[in-house]
């Protein structure tokens, strides 16, 4: 199955790349996003796929299954991911968190009825969010360019490289029966999408450029997760008339370094 999937994905990538080159859009260069032309084309392609296939499926799923059952399904998928999360916590040196993740898996797989119930959270073992891309980040691997993958959506090059490991790690046992495996994968995708129904209108309405918004959100959130929220936030004061703000030396520590650089460049051009 994955072979077919891969080759069709590659085909889509080529198509989108060609479309991007034809469009040849030269928007303001963002240092994080040298592939912006291609990325924008792939972003709208993914949007189309969502519109015609994934979102309608999620709407049916939400309409047909009762809420508690959907929660249970989400818990099962969450539970299957916990050992991989724990391993990544340990690879990052966070042994206590890693142990907690493994205990979550043990509790929820047994007393939680194969993960249907998330009793570990109630018992004071909170769910974490780790993956191999974050582990690489903690090890000092740079993130590389921002890239929108076909179907999978936003990644950095580093996270895209880590993705195969994450996909395998999130499925601790392999299912040999192909129809069953496809059903599980499909349910996972549709469930994931159904969680988001009802919130997307806010995103659509609130932003001027969805692409730029999602890009910034992804990059900033990845950086935040890799640091586990430890970095301090700096805010500049653009009301000062003198030009250089007092904390100019801390420019690099800004919440949005990329944007700061971007606007600096623009000023230089003027």
């Amino acid at each position: 199955m994955s072979k077919v999937f891969c080759s069709s994905r590659a085909g889509l990538a080529v198509t989108a790349l060609a479309a991007a080159l034809v469009a040849g859009c030269a928007t303001t260069a963002n240092p994080d996003d040298p592939l912006e032309g291609y990325n924008r084309a792939m972003f709208s392609f993914n949007d189309q796929v969502d519109k015609v296939a994934i979102k309608p499926a999620a709407q049916v799923y939400e309409a047909v299954l009762p809420g508690p059952l959907r929660t249970g399904i989400g818990n099962v998928f969450g539970n299957l991911g916990d050992p991989w999360i724990g391993l990544n916590n340990m690879l990052q040196g966070k042994f206590a968190d890693g142990m907690s993740d493994l205990m979550r898996f043990a509790f929820n797989s047994t007393w939680g009825l194969l993960g249907l119930l998330d009793i570990a959270s109630e018992a004071g073992l909170p769910k974490h969010d780790e993956d191999f891309g974050q582990t690489l980040g903690r090890w000092g691997v740079g993130e590389g360019a921002y890239v929108v993958l076909p179907l999978f959506g936003p990644r950095t090059v580093r996270d895209a490289v880590a993705m195969p490991a994450d996909m395998m790690g999130n499925t601790p046992f392999s299912i040999d029966h192909v129809p069953t495996r496809n059903t599980v994968t499909g349910t996972r995708i549709v469930h994931g999408r159904s969680v988001l129904l009802g919130t997307e209108r806010t995103l659509d309405e609130a932003v001027l450029d969805r692409y730029a918004f999602v890009r910034h959100f992804y990059l900033e959130q990845r950086r935040y997760k890799i640091e586990d929220g430890r970095q301090e936030r700096m805010y500049e004061d653009f009301d000062e008339q003198s030009g250089a703000p007092a904390n100019v030396s801390s420019d690099r520590a800004l919440v949005a370094p990329a944007q700061a650089v971007g606007s600096r460049n623009r000023q230089n051009v003027k």
Binding site: D118, T202, L208, H216, F217, Y218, F238, G243, Q267
Partner: protein, 220 residues
């Protein structure tokens, strides 16, 4: 797909940003208590109000106007969203930008509040000293089977009490997230181009939701 899930889950949480902070005597209240009280008060109202749950945009905007807006410093939020180009804007342009951005934020995120059902919000301890004039107050939306989504409020002390100037959802600053798209608009059509884009968006939102034009946030 997994990433998009996280993104949107974060935005689901973001709905609750609108739900923070009430209008009661705040000048002397500690910032963490302020955030907790407003959040709890607004969510209690939403939980009890069938019209809001049914998606009554006008009603939820009234609620946000009354309880939430007084605690936000929208001028500072707009300045941070615009970035360096703020210095090139005239005072009139700055006022127009602030008004348009406030209207956009209030309309869109108030709307999201209508999606709130029964998620539990907890307030992990926020560390700050009594003398601090800028604090980060934490809150978390608890969801079963997933990591809690953090919603942090950045507040600064002013003569009118503590004012929120940024909301950080799942580690991402709501305000600076606008900076690159604002920058694009400015490089395309200048400050006035950005003002026009924001006002156009607000107008079409008002038509969609049947709101009177120019409404959506009284001065703060």
């Amino acid at each position: 797909m997994k990433y998009i899930l996280h993104l949107f889950r974060a935005f689901l949480a973001c709905l609750l940003f609108a739900g923070a902070l009430p209008a009661t005597a705040s000048a002397d209240k500690a910032p963490d208590l302020l955030v907790q009280d407003v959040t709890n008060e607004v969510l209690a109202i939403v939980r009890a109000d069938k019209a809001i749950q049914a998606g009554d945009t006008k009603r939820v905007i009234e609620l946000v106007d009354a309880k939430v807006l007084p605690h936000f410093d929208f001028r500072r939020m707009t300045m941070l969203a615009v970035g360096r180009d703020w210095r090139q804007a005239s005072p009139e342009q700055q006022t127009k930008l602030t008004d348009a951005f406030r209207t956009l934020l209030v309309r869109t995120y108030s709307n999201a509040l209508t999606q709130y059902r029964d998620q539990r919000i907890v307030f992990p301890p926020s560390r700050f000293a009594a003398a601090d004039t800028r604090v980060q107050i934490r809150s978390e939306v608890v969801q079963t089977g997933a990591q809690p989504v953090g919603i942090d409020y950045m507040l600064e002390k002013s003569e009118q009490g503590w004012k929120v100037f940024d909301v950080i959802v799942a580690g991402v600053s709501l305000v600076t997230n606008y900076r690159s798209s604002f920058g694009q608009e400015i490089s395309r059509g200048g400050i006035d181009g950005l003002i026009k884009s924001l006002e156009d968006r607000n107008r079409s939102l008002a038509e969609q939701h049947g709101l009177p034009q120019g409404e959506g946030g009284s001065g703060a």
